[in-house]
């Protein structure tokens, strides 16, 4: 190569742009089935197959009984239904896959078949489905009809006051379950009591769990503070299970133990945990997860927290990994388990990937769409950031509204949010005082009530929390003590709410599959079964629920736009006077530029979308025209509000043949009388970013055209703002005000304008 001239490009700079995107922080891994990096097609995934001897399973997915590991044994003995196994295993997988997406095949027929299917069979069937088919089948197969959601409520200081406030606000947003955990494990009792009190504000029946060490979690449950658990994890290979220090029998024991104490529980499993633990046996994420799910049904758990969970970020690095997460959730509901469907650990730094991940669950519904929506800020999440967090919660509310989909949440007005937080903080402070657990001063309360996150609070410090937690544990304080304390301090509604929650454990109604509490009633797969059978069936938004979802904050309406304009009217009155001079006539001044105003310009509307007073805009255009030796004449149009026709009609009245069309919202055009309506000379279509200098330039150029010359067009630079999203609702409302003043064939009106004061 010669050393003269510019260097040859060595990179398309778009890649440098992409390097700066949050996406590039995400890891991606190559598919490597031998090393466990395979979503659905593992190197050593077995072929489905079951052999029976009488009612005994003697071979499962290619493994003879003599070689069964403990997982095979548990599945063969407790999951596989010998009555159905032969029929189910003989059903071709592609046919079973089609049944899953066939609205005419009832859910019960499919759950019956699943009881006779081996893990490899279940995995093979769902692998036939595309992502869209999986989403549809999931929506059809999930157990409870009404969708719900679960929140994480934690903070970086384990501050009980903030836990109470954040639990109360999570309840207000409509979460059916809230889950806490600790930065410091000995704070478990304090966290449990604080969330339990906060969750009693405003509504009864929000289930609550405190994720901690197994024995302690059960003890906390027995004192009545918690009502559910989901920490019973299972794994898909024997070695991973043993490495997790458990067996299917030890976990099944715990499953029964929770029920025996009247506490709802679900198991947890998710793709890639075996891969993370180093014991994947060269099997795919999906096959291992199918084993986990068969085990959970076999254990008699009512449900599962499933869909990647802690392994979701790893699953998402693999080709097809996110589709696999959906597929494992489908197996869970096909096995008739409640599914708290992941959408939990934040699987990407890319907000596009996050939004895409949630969509199938949002529009299809799920028993608990997120098995931990971060209702608090990311840095306060003691589990790790969630897919959605306090930062993005409002976006989730809008997604519900966009798709008219029930994501389980309801918008909360600002004033109510503050009330609810105050109530939570006051209730807990009173309980602490009544039970001599701690003193809370006004400054602590105020800082917590207002705080978005723990970095803004002046509240309990970790050492104090540990003392509080120890006291609750050591003194044997129970939920009954808390209920009494609330009642004695005048928190009657909270005392009633908390008692009604604890009473759930007497009947055990909420131990059934997919149970949550709505309006003081337990709803579950038993009394609210998903009956989807095509359009018009299954879950539908009621008019009332639709109205709740639609009620996000700061929505525009016509009256508000008019009110806002009215506040500018007075100011404009001091700057400009419009005087009617009768019907406009064609001009014959060859230097003339006619400015055609829209019908509401200066009459009902007084500023452009960029916020410029209309008087200033008009003054700038007139100044530009005059600066280049032109003459400005102003006409108001009554037959149209359309920019092109405002401009063209003005041009046809103009002695030079050049006219400017100007809408009140600031859109402007230069037109020539001989041109087609939409083939203008220059157009300012982006009114929100058009400055007064641009209007000045527009005036100058119009005068130059009038003189028969061709100027350099004025360009309004854009940074790619989504101006439609930012302005079009207002534009449509404003434009309707303009068109409301038009009349067919109404003649243009000559206007004399006087600029009456102030600087331009």
């Amino acid at each position: 190569m010669s050393d003269t001239g510019p260097a040859a490009p060595n990179r398309w700079k778009r890649f440098s742009d992409w390097d700066e995107r949050p996406l590039r922080l995400d890891n991606f891994a190559i598919e490597d089935p031998a090393n466990g990096f395979a979503a659905m097609a593992g190197a050593k995934d077995p072929k489905p197959g079951v052999k029976l001897s009488g009612h005994r399973i003697v071979e499962l997915d290619g493994v003879p009984e003599a070689d069964f590991d403990m997982i095979d044994l548990f599945i063969a003995r407790h999951h596989m239904d010998p009555e159905v196994a032969e029929e189910a295993m003989a059903t071709p997988s592609i046919e079973a896959a089609r049944m899953l997406v066939d609205m005419n095949v009832p859910r019960e027929e499919l759950t019956r078949l699943a009881r006779g299917m081996s893990p490899a069979k279940l995995a093979e069937v769902v692998a036939h489905l595309s992502a869209m088919e999986i989403a549809f089948a999931y929506s059809k197969m999930r157990a409870r009809k009404t969708p719900g959601n679960q929140a994480h409520v934690t903070n970086a200081k384990d501050d009980p006051l903030q836990l109470a406030a954040d639990a109360a606000i999570a309840v207000a947003f409509g979460f059916d379950e809230i889950e806490t955990t600790m930065r410091v494990s000995r704070n478990a009792w304090s966290n449990a009591l604080a969330c339990c009190v906060g969750a009693a504000v405003g509504r009864a029946g929000t289930l609550f769990q405190c994720s901690s060490e197994e024995a302690e979690e059960l003890q906390i449950g027995m004192r009545g503070f918690t009502s559910y658990a989901e920490t019973v994890s299972v794994y898909g290979t024997e070695k991973a299970f043993i490495d997790g220090d458990d067996t299917p029998w030890s976990k099944a024991w715990l499953t029964a133990a929770y029920a025996s104490r009247g506490i709802k529980m679900r198991c947890t499993s998710g793709a890639a945990s075996e891969l993370l633990m180093g014991f994947h046996e060269s099997k795919s994420l999906l096959y291992l997860e199918a084993r986990c799910l068969c085990m959970q049904r076999a254990m008699g758990a009512q449900g599962t927290q499933n869909g990647g969970i802690d392994g979701a970020p790893l699953a998402a690095t693999i080709p097809g990994g996110v589709r696999e997460l959906m597929a494992e959730n489908l197996i869970a509901v096909w096995l008739d388990l409640e599914c708290a469907s992941g959408n939990d650990a934040r699987a990407s730094e890319s907000e596009v990937r996050i939004g895409a991940k949630i969509l199938p669950y949002l529009i299809g519904g799920s028993d608990l769409i997120c098995s931990g929506f971060g209702s608090i800020l990311k840095y306060d999440n003691s589990f790790n950031p969630s897919l959605f967090n306090g930062e993005e919660l409002e976006e989730y509310l809008v997604l519900q509204r966009d798709f008219e989909a029930d994501g389980g949440l309801t918008p909360v007005e600002e004033a109510r949010a503050l009330d609810v937080r105050r109530r939570g903080v006051e209730a807990l402070s009173s309980v602490f005082d009544e039970l001599r657990l701690g003193k809370v001063d006004a400054a602590m309360k105020a800082s917590v009530i207002a705080a978005s996150g723990s970095r803004e609070t002046e509240s309990f410090v970790p050492g104090q929390v540990a003392d509080i937690s120890e006291a609750i544990k050591a003194r044997g304080i129970t939920v009954v003590d808390v209920i009494k304390a609330l009642e004695r301090r005048g928190f009657h509604e909270e005392a009633e709410n908390l008692l009604s929650l604890v009473k759930l454990r007497v009947s055990g109604d909420y131990l059934q599959t997919s149970a949550v509490v709505r309006d003081n009633h337990v709803i579950s797969a038993v009394n609210d079964p998903n009956d989807y059978g095509g359009p018009g069936s299954g879950y539908r938004l009621s008019p009332q629920r639709r109205a709740e979802i639609a009620a996000i904050r700061d929505v525009l309406d016509r009256d508000e736009v008019l009110r806002a304009e009215a506040t500018y009217e007075a100011a404009e009155a001091g700057r400009i006077a419009y005087r009617s001079m009768g019907p406009a006539r064609p001009g014959n001044d060859a230097k003339e530029v006619v400015i055609g105003l829209s019908p509401a310009f200066g009459l009902k509307l007084f500023r452009t979308l960029a916020g410029h007073p209309l008087s200033r805009v008009l003054k700038a255009i007139v100044a530009g025209i005059e600066e280049k030796g032109g003459t400005a004449r102003i006409v108001r149009m009554h037959h149209t509000a359309d920019t092109s026709f405002l401009g063209l009609s003005a041009a046809r009245l103009s002695g030079s043949g050049i006219g400017i069309g100007l809408q009140a919202k600031g859109t402007a055009v230069i037109h020539h009388k001989e041109r087609l309506p939409h083939n203008n000379l220059e157009l300012f279509s982006n009114a929100p970013i058009t400055s007064l200098d641009h209007y000045l330039g527009l005036g100058r150029n119009a005068a130059v055209y009038a003189a028969g010359n061709m100027p350099e067009p004025v360009v309004v630079p854009t940074d790619g703002e989504a101006l439609g999203a930012r302005f079009h609702a207002r534009v449509a409302l404003i434009y309707a005000i303009e068109t409301g003043l038009t009349g067919d064939g109404a003649a243009p009106e000559e206007i004399a304008v006087e600029f009456t004061g102030g600087k331009p």
Binding site: D69, M70, L73, F74, R77, H79, E108, T111, E214, A215, L218, Q219, M222, G224, E238, I242, D245, D246, T247, W249, S250, A252, W253, L254, T255, A256, A257, A259, S260, G262, R297, M299, G300, A301, Q302, D336, V479, V480, I483, K484, E487, A495, E496, L499, K503, L504, R505, V506, S507, G508, D509, L511, Q512, T513, H521, V522, S524, A525, V526, N527
Partner: protein, 143 residues
């Protein structure tokens, strides 16, 4: 247990459809467990506890809804209600890998459950685990 017809999904939720059947550990009916009773010291944690009867009723309902495995779990749980917390945790610990030194540890515990708590299902469950652990070498001490 008794000759009454088994409960069905029509009886669910029990607290609403069959409140007369719902009683806490000390026999107090669900309608008697009120805030006033709590304040007067007449209702305590013991009244806010599930009973074996309720768990068996929920098992009937689960079975009627086509969920036999869930029903079996509720039936195991019914046997566990009277097992003290520390025994429950002791058995849990024994079921974890490498805790029991031999099948005998588990079968002895099974006998205790059978003898002391009439927990036949739980005993059989432990005996099944004892055989599986033997086969899979789970009695090996883990450091």
């Amino acid at each position: 247990m008794n000759d009454e017809p088994k409960l069905s999904i029509e009886d669910y939720p029990l607290a609403e459809k069959r409140p007369e059947l719902v009683r806490g550990r000390r026999g107090k009916g669900i309608s008697e467990i009120t805030l006033d009773a709590v304040m007067a010291g007449e209702a305590s944690m013991a009244d806010l506890t599930i009973t074996p009867e309720m768990l068996r009723s929920q098992a009937d309902i689960a079975r009627a809804a086509g969920r036999s495995r869930l029903a079996e779990n509720f039936e195991r749980a019914a046997e566990m209600v009277d097992v003290p917390q520390q025994v429950i945790m002791q058995v849990y610990e024994l079921l974890r890998p490498g805790r029991a030194k031999s099948a005998a540890d588990l079968t002895a515990m099974a006998q205790t459950l059978r003898a002391d708590y009439k927990a036949e299902r739980l005993a059989r469950f432990l005996e099944e685990a004892a055989a599986v652990y033997e086969k899979r070498g789970l009695y090996t001490f883990r450091y």
